[in-house]
Structures are given as C-alpha cells and as structure tokens.
C-alpha cells in the first residue's frame, strides 16, 4: 500500500470515528425517535397499508423533512466541522491531494449517514408492518433503493455546500425547508429542483404494484424510474465534481 493510500484510508477511518462520536448522531437519533413514535401512534389507530405509508410517512414526513435534515448534519459537517473548529490546516498541510481529502471526508460520512437514514426507514417500515396489511412487508424493499440514492445525492450536495460557503449548515437548513419541504409539494415542474422529487418518482415507479402512488397524479407528475435514477446519479456526480474542484482551488484563510 502506498503512503498516500495509507494516509487516505486513515483519513476515512479517523473522520468516521469523529463523526460517530459527535452530537449529530444524537440529533439524528432524536429525529428518528420522533418519527418512530408518530408511526407507532398511527399504527395503533389504524391498519397501515402500503399506499397510506407511502403517502403519509415517506412523502409527507420522512422523505421531505426528517431524511434530509438527518443527512444535513453529516454532509455539511464532514469538512465543515474541521473548518469551524479551525483544524482544517492540519489536514491541508499533510501530503494528501486536496481532492482526496474532499473525497475521503465524504466517504467517511457514508456508513453512518446511510445506516441512520436507511436504518431509520427500515425501523419505520417495521413498526408500521406490525399492525399493517400483509403487503407492508414488501414496502421497505421498494423504498430502500430510492432512498439510498437520494441519501448519497444529499450528502454530495451538502458536502459541496460546506466547502463553497462559510455558513453551510444555515444554507442547508434553508434549502431543506424551502426547496425540499415547500417547493417539493407545489404543482408544476418547479419541484424538479428538489432531490426528493426524483426519489419519490423512483418510489412511485417501483411501488405501483403495492399501490404506492402520488396522491394526485396531475399535480405531482412523476418522471420514469429510470430517468429519476439517472438524474440522482448525475446530481451526485455533479456536486462531487464541483465540490472537488472548489476544494482543490479554494484557500481557507479561516483555518489554523
């Protein structure tokens, strides 16, 4: 193993450890706990069907708000924490190419962020399945892949924000509330600027056999699953490339 690869591997594990023992995990667990409680309360009142779960839980609560908010902390914090703590200088003076630092920091967030985001989704599905219709057992299988792709796209976007802007967390929160929560529900093509539009389109495409469909087809107007998959991958690759480019060229005067 070359020295640079060894250093990069250590960067990933070191960053992963730091994220694992951060307050972000507690915040994410809190958000998931509230979501689980709401689903539990709902499951006590009614028999949950895939259609209801798809509409209410994933499209109204989890996908537009809890999911991106949970990922936001990890995406913006991967490099943003070092920047805020003033310790980025220690990394920038190591013999690692800046692009590899950028990539390594993103890779380090994936295991934790995906475990929490997709694990959280699995937990919601499991709680709903306890008193739900038999088809509920298949819902997680339908929702998992769109959410995995969406999670990586969000992380890539938030990671980009952290190197492009000083107060990336605030910008990311505004983005989630305005673009994902608000614009993501308005009629017309404007909602296509939100990442969740594409994960929702994928969900509707693969979930149609379970009755998971947009509440009003004419208002939501989903695109095909293949197109949505390709778009999410493009968003991920685009922000990854843009972030790498910015980080490799940007000077951080506010670091130690």
């Amino acid at each position: 193993m070359t020295e640079q690869l060894r250093a990069w591997t250590f960067l990933v594990t070191y960053s992963l450890r730091r994220q694992l023992f951060s307050t972000k995990v507690i915040v994410a667990a809190g958000l998931l706990g509230i979501s689980c409680l709401l689903v539990l309360l709902a499951s006590m009142r009614r028999t949950i069907s895939p259609q209801w779960f798809g509409e209410v839980v994933t499209l109204a609560l989890y996908s537009p708000f809890v999911f991106p908010m949970l990922l936001l902390g990890f995406g913006t914090g991967a490099l943003g924490d070092d920047r805020d703590e003033g310790t980025l200088g220690y990394l920038l003076t190591r013999p690692l190419p800046r692009s590899s630092i950028y990539l390594g920091k993103l890779v380090a967030t994936l295991p934790i962020a995906l475990t929490l985001a997709i694990g959280g989704l699995w937990l919601l599905c499991s709680i709903a399945s306890r008193t739900g219709t038999p088809e509920m057992a298949d819902v997680f299988g339908v929702l998992a892949w769109p959410h995995v792709l969406a999670a990586i796209a969000y992380l890539s976007f938030f990671h980009f924000l952290a190197v492009a802007f000083r107060h990336s967390t605030i910008i990311a929160i505004v983005y989630v509330l305005f673009i994902e929560v608000f614009l993501g529900t308005v009629p017309g093509v404007i909602k296509r600027v939100s990442i969740r539009f594409y994960s929702s389109s994928m969900t509707f495409d693969s979930g149609s056999r379970l009755g998971i469909a947009p509440p009003e087809d004419l208002v939501f107007q989903p695109i095909s699953g293949a197109a949505a998959t390709a778009t999410l991958m493009l968003i991920t690759a685009g922000f990854l490339a843009a972030g790498t480019w910015v980080f490799a060229r940007r000077e951080f005067r506010d670091v130690t």
Partner: protein
Amino acid sequence: MNAAVVVHGASKWYGAVIGVNEVSLEIEPGLTGLLGPNGAGKTTLMKLITGQLRPSIGEVRVHGQPVWRRALARKRLGYSPDGDRFHEELTGFQFVYSMARLCGLERRDARQRTERTLARVGMADRSWKRLRECSKGMRQRIKLAQALVHAPDVLVLDEPLSGVDPPGRLELMDLFRELKEESRTVLISSHILEEVEAVTDRVILMAHGRVIASGTVARIRDLMDDYPLTVRIVTDRARELAAELIAHERVVSVRVDEGNGVEPGRVVLRVRGAEHFFRELPSLVTSRGLDVRSVEPLDASAAAIFDYLVGGRREVDS
C-alpha cells in the same frame, strides 16, 4: 545553493489588502528567524510556504516542488500553526499519532515515532491528558510534536514559544538547536526579537508584507545599531550628566528634567550604537563622580526598530 525553501517574487492579496508583497527569499538548512510586528505578513508567508495559500503572483517551492500544487512536496514539511486549535476530544498522544498516520506512516511506526516525538518535546508523561485539559504550554508542545512526528526536513513553526513558561522556553530552544544540528531547515516566527535572536543564525525581518532586511543575526544587529534608541537615566545631578552626555559622539539628542527636590532628575537621550554606548556609560559616570540611580531603554521593542527599518528596504549580505 541548497535552499530547501525558495520564495520567488511572491505576493498575496486578500482582496484589496496585501498580505505579502513581492517577497523573494531562500531558506537554507539551519535555524532562520522570521521576525516582524503583528500584521507584518509572517503568518501569510508561512501559509504560502506550507501550501495552505496560493501566491497571487510568484511561486513558492519546497525542495524544488511547487508546494500549493504538489501534495508530495508537503511530505517533507512540518507545520506548527499559531492558532490554538485542536481536536479537543483527543489526548495529546492520539492527536500526534493521528497526524503521523495522516502522513502515511504505518501503525507501528507511527506509534513509535509518536512516543519518541512526545518525549522529545517534553510531553511523554502528560501525553494521555485530553487536549481540552492541557495548558497553553502543553498545547504548544503538542503542536510542535505533530509537526515533527513524520521527521520532516523543513519545519515551519509559527510563534512556537508563545504561551510557554520560561523553563519550557529554554527546553524548546535546546530542541530547536538540536534540529539545527540535524541539518533541518527550520523557520521560526516571532514578534519578539530576543526570542528569535537566541536560537537563530539568520533573521528575516518583515513589515507591511515586505521583507525589510535579512541576514545573519550579527549583521542585523549592526543594522539596528543605526537606530537611535531612547534611554532614560535617573540621577540627582541631571544637568551635569546631560552636559557630559551631549558631547558624546553617539548621543543624538538630550532632554533634561531636573526634578523637584523630592523626585530625582531625569535625562532622556537618543543614542546611536546603543550597545557601545552602554559599555562606555559606566566609566563616563564614575570618572565625573555622578550618581546614577537607573538606566532604562524606552523603545527597545522590536516594533520600534521595525518602524525605523521600514523607512527603507535594507538588504544585508549574509
């Protein structure tokens, strides 16, 4: 010429503000002091040398490689920043070990080097303390250790003695001398002249983003001899002393305050070649039977000397 660090015509602008202005210098193995008042551009120059900043114009090379573009150029570089920032949740050992691993060292090698380096900076017995619980002096030593742990041959140390107690300073100065004996290239910044002078062979003076003088400590001292130092002498016979001093070849001006019978008199004079003057003063005073209570330089700080030197750029051959 075997300069490890070459800065060629480098300028750095922060918008309309100039951080470093047309700096060209070569730093050879040994200890080099980078001296200047706060805001002189020392830290900007150090960040250029360590590849954290890109020069607006000009170039900075470490061992012949452009340090901003080539990550491998930083392999032989150690940097101790001025800022007191750490991953606070870690112990000193964990932090230095992590920095060693981030330089590509293998686990066992990194562990051994971390232990050795922490012992070298006097932190062997305190390395298991969490950084948030460490004193300023201990944190300085940890910063130094993380810069040294991968055995770089170029070390850039930004205010490494700041916050260290006097015995600790002596220990670290000994360490710097050891680094010199190991033929490493060490650049140490400070705004305190005496601090740098005690350990370095060569000094670079900066002010307003420019290198205003550079050379050996002895030559810089000669240059500083031209600077008229203000000295206050407290005596009961101020007028008589002033009359003697005004005739002295090194005295530029004299002002007398005769006192009021309760307070003793004072003579405030400006003198060139202060070192020689202070050597000659005792014999002058005793030969006239004058009673001197105290002699106090009023503006011997580095800042005052810089103000004088900034008047014109002075190149000193080393």
